[in-house]
């Protein structure tokens, strides 16, 4: 079952950089596209598709900046390391040795837990700014996360049980040979639970009480600006793609080439975009209840039925 492990060689570094570059650009265009779609729903033109690049340059171009301390300074570094690391720890393109990147370092569990690396570092950085809204945003985010992670963990468990492996490559391999081999069809409950969890982790409505721009300025990043913000913007583009790649590999048959990856990532991303433009915002306890009542039973069902 277990495929031969890819090992490290120095060529992995340029390939990894290439992966990051591709995903970075794709992520920037994609976030803009999603914003544009949301604007179209509101019958606006929306931002130009390259607007995010301009914003990024603008943020790097700011001449002054302040820092609240070491952790504040490191927060965005943690955040972006989390995004880049996640991307590189997961085999991006199935069957491609070049784009398996550093997936030899660990399996699904590494991806599952490395997601928190950026969150934790960012939380530390935001908290050091001393801004109460940052702290409030973090409590909301973390609270919501505890409930949102549960169905995902259950789904992952179900999938791992289903394929009897924790290796992402093996899980993708098991789904090859036709659309009907995807986990989506072989284990629909797990996928349903995971997709609900996915909604909760994308920071889009109805689960965006963390940022809540009208209420607690924008939560954790209230104090962040200039190049700090630029790094976080980069992560905002990169990280969802990396996360979706994990979802895609686990549930939607992975991708054997970049175009397939672009397509699948786009479609999965659209799920949260669709939900986001339609629903208003949940309060924290509402979203916790929502996950526990709707998503968790599906996850349990998936685990039990496997």
């Amino acid at each position: 079952m277990m495929e031969a492990l890819v090992e490290f060689n120095w060529m992995r570094i340029p390939w990894a950089l290439l992966t990051v570059f591709i995903v970075f650009n794709y992520g920037f265009l994609m976030t803009a596209l999603i914003q544009k779609i949301a604007a179209r729903v509101g019958r606006r033109h929306g931002i130009p598709i390259w607007q995010n690049y301009i914003d990024l340059i603008k943020n790097y171009a700011l001449r002054t900046s302040i820092t609240h301390g070491v952790m504040f300074y490191l927060g965005p570094v943690f955040r972006l390391s989390g995004g880049v690391g996640l991307l590189l720890f997961v085999p991006t393109i199935y069957g491609s040795d070049m784009f398996s990147n550093f997936s030899f370092a660990g399996d699904l569990i590494l991806a599952l837990y490395f997601v928190f690396f950026g969150t934790l570092g960012m939380a530390l950085g935001a908290a050091e700014s001393g801004h109460p809204y940052s702290a409030i945003g973090i409590t909301r985010g973390l609270s919501q996360m505890t409930a949102a992670e549960l169905p995902f963990a259950l789904a992952v468990f179900a999938v791992a049980l289903q394929y009897q492996t924790l290796s992402i490559t093996d899980i993708v391999a098991a789904q090859q040979g036709g659309v009907l081999n995807w986990t989506l069809f072989t284990n629909p409950f797990a996928v349903a639970a995971a997709m609900m969890s996915f909604l909760g982790s994308m920071m889009r409505p109805p689960f965006d009480v963390v940022l809540a721009p009208q209420e607690i300025p924008i939560g954790p990043p209230t104090e962040y600006h200039s190049s700090f913000l630029a790094m976080m913007q980069t992560n905002r583009a990169l990280f969802p793609i990396a996360k979706i790649v994990v979802y895609m590999n686990l549930f939607f048959g992975g991708a054997a080439s970049w175009p397939v990856l672009f397509l699948k990532v786009f479609l999965i991303y659209m799920v949260s975009a669709f939900v986001g433009v339609v629903f208003p915002r949940f309060r924290v306890e509402q979203s916790i209840r929502w996950f526990l009542i709707w998503a968790v039973p599906l996850g349990i069902l998936a685990v039990v039925l496997v």
Binding site: A39, G42, R43, R44, H45, G46, I47, P48, Q51, I54, D55, I57, K58, A61, L62, R63, T64, S65, I66, P213, Q214, P217, I218, P221, T222, E223, Y224, H225, S226, L229
Partner: protein, 213 residues
């Protein structure tokens, strides 16, 4: 001076008594400095272009004109397509729209917020009141000339100007930025004493550090 800003003696956990001077201890004492542009002109040009195409407005309705900004977000005007968006925190904004009359009390908050924005930053005065006091020309608590207190890049006249006028104003601002003439932040730093003196002449209970980082 407000009571919470007065110097006070507190007892440390090990029983020592120390003096806390809130203004000195809680706030950074540095003043603003003039920030040079990028080393190479072409990069500065690129940066200026990016700055002009990415105007992030501080969402702070300082006067009645704030109501004229709302339509800009709607499908009819849709300012987003010009790279304009509203940010909830001064840290991330670089355009401050003073929307209409500005009372001395609000002025204090405006100064604080302006100083908390990171340069380069721009100020747009909206409506006659910011230009010469408008209909509040004889009011005891409304300033008459915004540029006495903050460096203003663009004034948009009218009482009130329509959203279209705002859009036109923003376009004007973009031109200024692209031309590299929107150096309000540096102006403020250069003439810091003058601005402070003006500000303090109307704000009688100055209860903050001279520069709010």
């Amino acid at each position: 001076m407000k009571e919470e800003l007065l110097k006070r003696i507190v007892k440390t956990p090990d029983g020592q008594e120390i003096e806390v001077d809130p203004l000195l201890d809680y706030y950074c004492q540095e003043g603003p400095t003039v920030q040079p542009p990028a080393y190479t002109a072409i990069i500065e040009k690129l940066f200026n272009w990016a700055r002009s195409e990415s105007l992030w407005i501080l969402g702070f309705g300082t006067g009645c004109g704030a109501i004229e900004m709302r339509p800009l977000m709607t499908p009819r005007f849709d300012a987003y397509r010009y790279g304009i968006q509203w940010r909830p925190t001064p840290r991330q904004s670089n355009l401050f729209v003073i929307s209409g009359y500005l009372s001395t009390k609000t002025l204090k908050r405006v100064i604080r917020s302006y100083e908390q924005m990171q340069g380069p930053k721009y100020v747009v005065g909206l409506g006659s009141c910011t230009i010469n006091g408008g209909m509040y020309w004889d009011s005891y608590n409304t300033i008459k000339r915004l540029d006495d207190y903050l460096p203003v890049d663009v004034y948009i006249a009218g009482c009130m100007p329509r959203p279209e006028a705002l859009l036109a104003g923003f376009e004007e601002l973009k031109k200024i930025i692209r031309a590299g003439k929107a150096e309000g932040a540096n102006l403020y730093a250069k003439n810091f004493e003058w601005y402070k003196a003006n500000q303090k002449s109307v704000i009688h209970d100055w209860d903050m550090p001279d520069y709010n980082w």
